[in-house]
Amino acid sequence: MKIKLLLKIALIAFLIGGINTSCTKVIDVDLNSKDPQFVIEGFVTLGETTHRVNITKSLDIDQGIAFPTVDNAVVTITDDLGASTSLSLVSPGVYECTGYAVSEGRTYTLTVSVDGKVFVASGKMMQDIPLSSVQTFEFAFGPDTIHAVVPLRQDIANVKNFFQFNLYNNHERVVGNFIQSDQYNDGNMMMEPLFADGIDSGDTIDVVMFGIEETVYDYFYTLQQNEQGATPANPTSNFSGGCLGYFSVRTKDVGQIVIP
């Protein structure tokens, strides 16, 4: 529930429609620097046999270059029954393995060794939740209509379920951090809408829904909180060894809708 977002809209409405306009401008801020850190994003997805790990490094704020990729890492995935696979570099910073089937209930461990450091994370594959359908939810905001996308799915009762979404608008990835939890809808047909800019009538929206673990949900929830101006903090990574990033063992389903 994007309460804080809606509160923000109300505040801006007040400021713009009210007395005076608020102004924004770009300024210079003198910031400290930090030694570059390893950033690992690892994915093991139910229903797929190809799994991917991205490894990059962090930069100082004032460095206006692309994030450096890490190409010399040794990356392996093992499950709790001992079946393992190694991932090889397929493009700068991207490691993939093929032919590795994954199933519900298994625990997968990702190990990354690079420059003398070892980073390890584990995750357990949860029960699959399919995407029943994709609907839309509209409401009027002055003369405009805001279209939101509703991914309908039946939540599993008495289990904490967390979801992450990738949205594509006319095949272009929509920028945003889309996560939901079943805190208020446990056991129900979940129909919480997703709000994003630029969704208009006639657009084809592809929804990819991932069932994720609580640690990964908390990771993205912290990133979301940071955007909203609360005292920002680094999200807790499920990796040991001191790197940034996360390892997500997730289920997946897809759906599509054309906005009426």
């Binding site: 809606l6 007040f14 910031l31 962090s58 100082d60 905001f141 912290t222 101006g229």
Partner: protein
Amino acid sequence: MKNYIIFTLLFICFGAFSQEKYTISGTIADSTKGEELINAKITVKGLGQGTFSNEYGFYSLTLPKGTYTLIYSSTGYDPKEVAIELNQNLVINQRISSLADKVHQMAEVKVTAKKEDQNITDPIMGVERLNPAAVAKIPVLLGEKDIIKSMQLLPGVKSAGEGNAGFYVRGGAADQNLILLDEAPVYNAAHLLGFFSTFNSDAIKDAVLYKGNQPANFGGRLSSVLDIKMNEGNNKRYNVSGGIGVISSRLNVEGPIVKDKASFLISGRRTYVDMFLRASDKFKDNTLYFYDLNAKVNYRINQKNRVFLSGYFGRDKLGLGDAFGIDWGNATGTARWNHIINDKLFSNTSVIFSSYDYKISISSSDVSFDIKSSIKDINLKQEFQYFINTRNKMRFGINAINHNIIPGQIDANEASGINPITLTPNKSLEAAAFVTNDFTLTENFTLSYGLRLSTFSLLGNGQNTYSYDTDGDVSDTTVYKNNSFVKTYPILEPRVSMSYVYSKTASFKAAYARNAQYIHLVSNTTTSSPTDLWIPSSMNTKPEICDQVSIGWFKNFKENAYEMNIETYYKSMQNQIDYRNGANLQANELIEGELLYGIGRAYGLEFILKKKTGKFTGWVGYTLSRSERKIEGINNNQWYASKQDRTHDLSVVGIYDITPKLSVSALFIYYTGNAVTFPSGKYTIDGQTQFLYTERNGYRMPAYHRMDIGVTWYRKNTEKFESSWNFSLYNVYGRENAYSITFRQNADNPAVTEAVQTSLFRWVPSITYNFKFK
């Protein structure tokens, strides 16, 4: 022989004490309005002794038999002298005339050098008394006279920033201030996300701010007590007054119900910002308003008994069409009974109800749900004031508050797919007993000392109560019987304050106080939000405790025309609260698992120089301070600057009465920016740039400064009607003061990160028309 000596000694002693003493008591009030005067001075001419009236205008003075001249006076009033022959107890109810009633009819302003040296002699330190008449002339945002915004112009009191109604006192958090309106606590003192405060200045009689060294009759918050008393209502004639402004208007109706015996007051204020929104096509279906309503009635049954009934209702509403709405507000109600037991003993009994609640509603086509939360208090207070003799004035009493907090309740219809839940309400009982004495040791040395014993008990509610481990996970779940005592915290709070007047115009003061706070506001946003939640102390969250020590030097010049106060303080705080990374504070049953605990400290130097008389009045206030926290689990367990840390804070206020009909004022403020957490690096997650943070609050926002000016034109002043115009300009040189600084990718080159500053108000002019039918 021995018996004779003893008998003689006893006779001498008895003889010495047998000098007869009598008491003069009564009330002191305004002659035109009948309003009792708070803190008015009754001095004995030539003797240098005297007393002050209490918050109900009652005074009591005990002197040896003899002939005296008493002087009754108060700031802004013509002093009155009364000759008395004291050979029995006397009751004198005095009326004095306000100077304001005379001034506007005169061609010149009479310069009265008031002998106001209370800042030197008062043993209570760290106190600011704000006169609503003075507040009226200070320019503020949108011409709204605002007692809280004006208080922030004094040293030691810092505003939480533009767009924030909260304030910080001596490095304490915004929830550590107890705001009392006619003894009822007001939980949310802000309208519209912080742009205005909830106090309608028209109805306010007196406001006192204690910055941590409050006497033992106050308790429950660490940093300050803002004690606001409303007018009772003119008990001689009807008055209708009000003001029409750009953003809001107000109306005040008061008058006698039974002349000189009973009166009422109704005061209201409403904004109409939503009218401006209607002008815009995009926002015309939106709602945005707030209102305040104060109502009071009082009845003097007889010379010794008086009853009061007062209430306050305020609400804010924000809405986006029909789809989304949020409203919140306070409601308070107080019933009081003053009883004068005898010439020396005054009693006040109060029953107080206070509540704050908010509701968020979302509805569209078939889906609808509401989220509600509230805190409701019922408070019983019994207080006695015992004017023992000229040297001792004692106060003692008891107080019990029942807090009932509903942390979250969700009501949803079937179609929404959301489960309706009610988070378990938590109930607690906060009780206290106190005794305090103002003791005049010698003419130059006065001491105020007291002890408060407070206790807090968390009561069972028949549902799950959780305990947590250090990782914030639930370690234990227990069910306690409804209304059983789950956990009780007793805390002893000693308070002592002294003043040593070493010359006619100067004094030194020192004070120590311990304060306990049992309920805490959970909020991790930079701006105060109406959805912030109050939680009680529990098995996991301990009461906050603060020990504050302060010393000061007070000096007046030119017959009290100038007042200079310099104070320094040190505060040590225990059981301070902060939040885990990514804490989920909304409607979370396990909210205590998101909290982290530690200690805090704050220290500073406050300086103020005031000019109180003459055509030109004003002050310069400056505070140099530091406020830090050390919380287990944050910033590697190192000390870090708290959000409200502000190194320099300067205010300069000037008011010039050009003629009795025209007055101009200006103010200039400068302060160091808040401590903030900025990134020290960046990385990519899922194709988006994220920021890397190192030290908590290791950076500063840019310094804030602005100048405001105002002009008040007292246009008409006749027997029946008064009117004035007020013009003000907020932020005269249009400085873009930073409200927030965020980081984002440059639109043209995503690899480049830029810092974006948002500022709120540049030039804001306003006009208000004020009127009064007398």
